[in-house]
Symmetry: C2
Subunit: 208 residues, 2 copies
Amino acid sequence: MSSNIVWHSHPVDQQSRAEQKSQRPLVIWFTGLSASGKSTIAGALEQILTQQGYHTYLLDGDNVRHGLCQDLSFSDADRQENIRRVGEVSKLMADAGLITLAAFISPFRADRRIVRDILPEGQFVEVFVDAPLDVCRERDPKGLYAKADRGEIKQFTGIDSPYEIPENPEVHIHAEQVSVAEAVNQLLAYLHESGVLHAGYEPVAIEA
Amino acid sequence: MSSNIVWHSHPVDQQSRAEQKSQRPLVIWFTGLSASGKSTIAGALEQILTQQGYHTYLLDGDNVRHGLCQDLSFSDADRQENIRRVGEVSKLMADAGLITLAAFISPFRADRRIVRDILPEGQFVEVFVDAPLDVCRERDPKGLYAKADRGEIKQFTGIDSPYEIPENPEVHIHAEQVSVAEAVNQLLAYLHESGVLHAGYEPVAIEA
């Protein structure tokens, strides 16, 4: 048996891709200082969402800086181009129907604004992962602050390159005051309230 | 009730994303002259796959040239960078567990090779949409060949920029000899034989 299909009048689009996944596409954008906890929180949220049946993807420095953006430095212009490209890829991922998480320092307000503006209305959630510079410097899991202090890394955000605080983020996580599980629950509560998650989500506890 | 989850030891990866979608991630790369039928065939295949429950995404000039690659011209170097970026995005899409279709002229053999090489083994399928230059020039749905003939477009593939024929594509479609439905069925047969599709696919008839 074969079926007759008229494909030009019904191309596969964001809506049909999202309906197939029973979810609302979205870009959840984590911004904050190096070592503030962006990737950890985003990764934990992604795991919880996946376990609950949502279709997700996580973009971060690990899968972008060695591939799509391998030609870019950390100059202001290249940081801007880095975020522009990641924003465009986030848009494609959301167009694919996915709940897309992006974890990048993304220090400049104008660049984050550009990402918000290229996405369809209501599909950008800005999450400020707010940890004091002293706390981040203390953690310094990759030794980057130490290198920046010694002048071995130039234009390091918080040291000799500015971080512009979000003025009106959808979610503000006080990362030095909450556990990863609490941060994830704060995000789940926001996503639930804004109608992204199905009814009946449960707060989670997470062990490291 | 809350669950205790150790997320660092089980990050969400390609395998878990693909298992969630009950499919094997793949990049199906359509190459050929302008107006050879790449986008039409890719769009029809995507629609059939989606109707059969597969999770897909289609990358083409429409969603890339005005976004991610809006800064690029059609010079050799920029064509190369265009395909490099699309290849990296295809890799991310496949990493997200999706069956990714990419329809780009992609005239240079070395550039297509680079995309093949950055993907995990067996996740790249090269589809040569082979239509004679005369046929493409006759179709010319966007009037591009006419513009190239008048010199209004420079470096147009097949006119004053070369197209390097694939030497060993996984699928070779003789686009001037088959209908879109036949091309789609040729692709479905290949995907079936190579274990990408579940058992029991049916050939389809497609009305334009």
